[in-house]
Assembly symmetry: C2
Homo-oligomer: 207 residues x 2
């Protein structure tokens, strides 16, 4: 049965990534074995080693599947790509809410977030992932700041605080929310009111 065309191989590769996601989620990245992943994908370690160098390689592939598209989406929702007339504060609010919606609906994305937040040890090779995350944060903060800048220009802000300070506060709030959202697995503490929390956060800024 070892007869695979290129498309079949691509499918196998994706199956391995999906399997890795399930295994990482269940056992944590460190305690996940290539044998576990192979079994979950109904292949042998031979197939895994054909497509990937090692576990780290699979991890990065899994991560890129979701995080690369995510960056661009954020631009659009913050109204940075097209001229727009909408309330910038509402745009920030919608952007944050949309990300939460994504987590609700996109199982793949939710699981990868969970893996990266509480099923992964950022040590050795994985340490550089933290740097990437920090960089993504910086660019996200800048984007939020631009939106707050527009809000300030339109005289929509309740306080005298700088757009930069507001953007940092919003970013930290949202980072905290994401962490709690993930950790609150049964949804009783944070998930059920995530949208309200975001609204409150933004309302605090509205004039």
């Amino acid at each position: 049965m070892v007869s695979k065309t290129k498309e079949d191989a691509e499918l196998t590769r994706n199956r391995i990534i999906a399997a890795a996601r399930a295994v990482f989620l269940a056992r944590g990245v460190s305690k996940s074995t290539l044998e576990h992943i192979a079994a979950e994908a109904n292949v042998t370690r031979g197939a895994v080693y054909w497509h990937f160098e090692n576990k780290t390689d699979i991890f990065h592939a899994m991560r890129e599947q979701v995080f690369l598209p995510l960056i661009d989406q954020m631009d659009d929702r913050l109204g940075l790509t097209i001229d727009n007339t909408e309330n910038p504060l509402t745009q920030i609010e919608n952007s944050l809410c949309h990300t939460i919606s994504e987590l609700n609906e996109n199982i793949e994305m939710r699981e990868i977030y969970e893996i990266m937040m509480i099923k992964c040890e950022y040590v050795g090779e994985f340490a550089m992932v933290l740097d990437q995350i920090l960089n993504n944060c910086s660019s996200l903060i800048e984007k939020i700041e631009i939106a707050y800048q527009r809000a300030q220009t339109q005289n929509l802000l309740a306080s005298m605080l700088s757009p930069h300070a507001l953007a940092l506060d919003t970013h930290l709030f949202f980072g905290g929310l994401l962490h709690m959202w993930i950790k609150d697995a049964d949804g009783s503490k944070f998930r059920h009111q995530a949208f309200d929390l975001i609204k409150t956060h933004i309302n605090l800024r509205r004039k």
Copy 2:
């Protein structure tokens, strides 16, 4: 040289915990071996197994050393224990700032935070630690809420938002800040301005 009195044994136990902290930090909890820990503590695995059941047991012991005292401190700083006349918003601000100071000065606490945030996979036996963390969050939110309640009573708040909503927002902000503080190892992005971020966050609430 195997002659240890009870006090010596207690010292050995603490040395093992301290060694575990160093090893966890360097290699991550999962990839840390009892042999690594024993070597770091200048004992053998025999000593480790005498004092602890397994790695998980060491982890919990390490965690309790820092987190149990932490809870009580928070009460005091939020002014919940004694009658006081100070501005509640300032008390919240000071409480958060004090925690950051602790992270700056208390290496042990900082390292344990780092281990728990980015060097540990919350899976299997460790999953229940997440529940404990969530519970600690709930009680912390309640304490902050009481402080905001006092602020509202004293007509110090800039917005009409409920003390509960404000407390949640503050809690999420601070959770995000702690995460970023830890991840920002070189301090260039968040650590250097942590106090300012807290001040900004509270100023947003001051009338």
